[in-house]
């Protein structure tokens, strides 16, 4: 009798806790579902849906320049999923990816011993973790990005922090992204607690808030504006926007981290960008990463 009672209580508590654990991402799941629905509708047929989604685009361009009938996972390659001309150029560049040697350099950094005999491998025994960051640390009650985790590893081993935007940081992350992609892993962001849910909501608010002297939000360009042409480039969609980082950007002439790209975006809105290891930056990335949940990691990659 006592054993049965004990079993029943254990089962009840397990059910209670697992129910609670899933409750925190209900809104985030809904947001993601709506986002996928929006992008699938937008790129079902850009020419046919001109009045709804592309009122200012030339008809000829909508007729011939866009792919049609895109589904959720197609957006993994960003604007190259719908911009026909850009995709051709992208595929040509990918024949000899300019970041290839960086993956090997990143692997060397992974195993290179610190002065105390440890290495990055000590902190990250599994290099296929690209899809698990940023994560919500339930003990510290804050979001931790991959860049911050790497720098904390270095500092805890009495090594100097790396530049969060490029150089060794981007090179090492290229190796992690490549290892994760090779293991065919996907974005796997969790919202385990109420605090995590609040962090997600703050990140979401940041993404949708108009800011800077140009009064633009991230969403202005990458949701409502996704697919629209600015000069000669079509804007990328939020969906799948961070599955391929770090990227070799032609404008940079080298590899850069997600933080580097995000700072550039906020700067383009006309505001001083948040610091790389700030709460704002972490929570913004947390929201963006959740929106790409279940999409395959395909970094490092190349962008214009």
């Amino acid at each position: 009798m006592l054993t049965r009672l004990l079993k029943a209580s254990v089962l009840t508590s397990f059910a209670f806790f697992s129910l609670n654990a899933t409750q925190f991402d209900v809104q985030a799941q809904k947001d993601k579902k709506e986002l996928v629905k929006y992008f699938e509708a937008k790129f079902q047929d850009p020419y046919k849906n001109k009045n709804t989604f592309f009122p200012y685009s030339p008809e000829e361009e909508l007729k011939d320049g866009y792919e049609k009938g895109l589904k959720h996972m197609d957006f993994g390659i960003g604007s190259y999923s719908y911009a026909k001309d850009a995709k051709e150029q992208y595929e040509a560049i990918k024949e000899f990816p300019p970041y290839e040697d960086k993956i090997e350099d990143g692997e060397e950094l992974y195993t290179k011993e610190f002065a105390n005999g440890n290495s990055l491998k000590t902190c990250f025994p599994d290099p296929t973790i690209g899809g698990d960051y940023p994560y919500f640390d339930t003990n510290r009650k804050e979001v931790i990005s991959l860049t911050t985790a790497i720098n904390e590893c270095l500092e805890s081993n009495n090594e100097k922090k790396w530049n969060a935007k490029k150089g060794k940081m981007a090179t090492f992350q290229a190796f992690l992204a490549y290892s994760t992609a090779e293991a065919q892993k996907k974005m796997n962001i969790k919202i385990p607690t109420k605090e995590a849910q609040e962090a997600y909501e703050r990140g979401k608010e940041y993404y949708y808030t108009q800011r800077g002297y140009l009064k633009l939000s991230c969403a202005t360009c990458h949701i409502q504006g996704a697919g629209q042409r600015v000069r000669n480039e079509k804007l990328s969609p939020l969906l799948g926007q961070i599955t391929h980082f770090p990227v070799y950007r032609l404008k940079w002439g080298g590899l850069g981290t997600l933080e580097r790209r995000m700072s550039g975006c906020v700067k383009d809105q006309g505001q001083v960008p948040p610091k790389n290891d700030s709460k704002q930056m972490h929570e913004l990335l947390y929201f963006m990463a959740y929106m790409s949940n279940d999409m395959p990691i395909d970094g490092p990659d190349v962008r214009k």
Binding site: E34, K37, Q210, Y213, Q224, G270, V272, S278
Partner: protein, 145 residues
């Protein structure tokens, strides 16, 4: 009885100090009813007052991580350059960029003051507005298509 008196005294002091602190350091919502054209007019207020207004609100913008940056120039650096020009009597400002190097921005001093003032206040007013408008851009929430 003494304990009760002590508690009351501490409470009163806390309330008084709190009220003083909140009235001396304006908050994000303190710009709600500001007429930006009026307070940032050099013609009506004089350049020194306009740049003081810019400085006051830019501090709040900085505190809330909302400071504007245009072509590499933070609003703080624009304010500094205007203040220096007022001291030296220069007609034009060339503010430093966020890296501390000379920027490509060159503006008449008065225009620099007006811009710095408008940038400082707008950063706050649009953040206030956004608290109620940001959901209008969320698919499945305020954004309909």
């Amino acid at each position: 009885m003494n304990k009760l008196l002590n508690i009351s005294l501490v409470s009163i002091i806390t309330i008084v100090f709190g009220a003083c602190a909140s009235s001396s350091s304006p908050s994000l919502s303190s710009v709600k009813d500001i007429d930006v054209e009026k307070v940032c007019s050099v013609e009506n207020n004089g350049i020194e007052k306009v740049i003081q207004t810019a400085k006051k609100y830019n501090e709040i913008a900085k505190k809330n991580e909302l400071e504007f940056r245009r072509l590499g120039v933070n609003n703080t650096d624009l304010i500094i350059s205007v203040e220096e020009a007022i001291k030296t009597g220069a007609k034009e400002v060339n503010p430093k960029d966020f890296k501390g190097k000379a920027s490509k921005t060159k503006l008449p001093v008065e225009f620099g003051a007006i811009r710095a003032c408008k940038f400082a206040i707008s950063a706050l007013t649009q953040a206030n507005e956004a608290k109620t408008t940001w959901r209008l851009a969320v698919p499945g929430d305020g954004y309909e298509y």
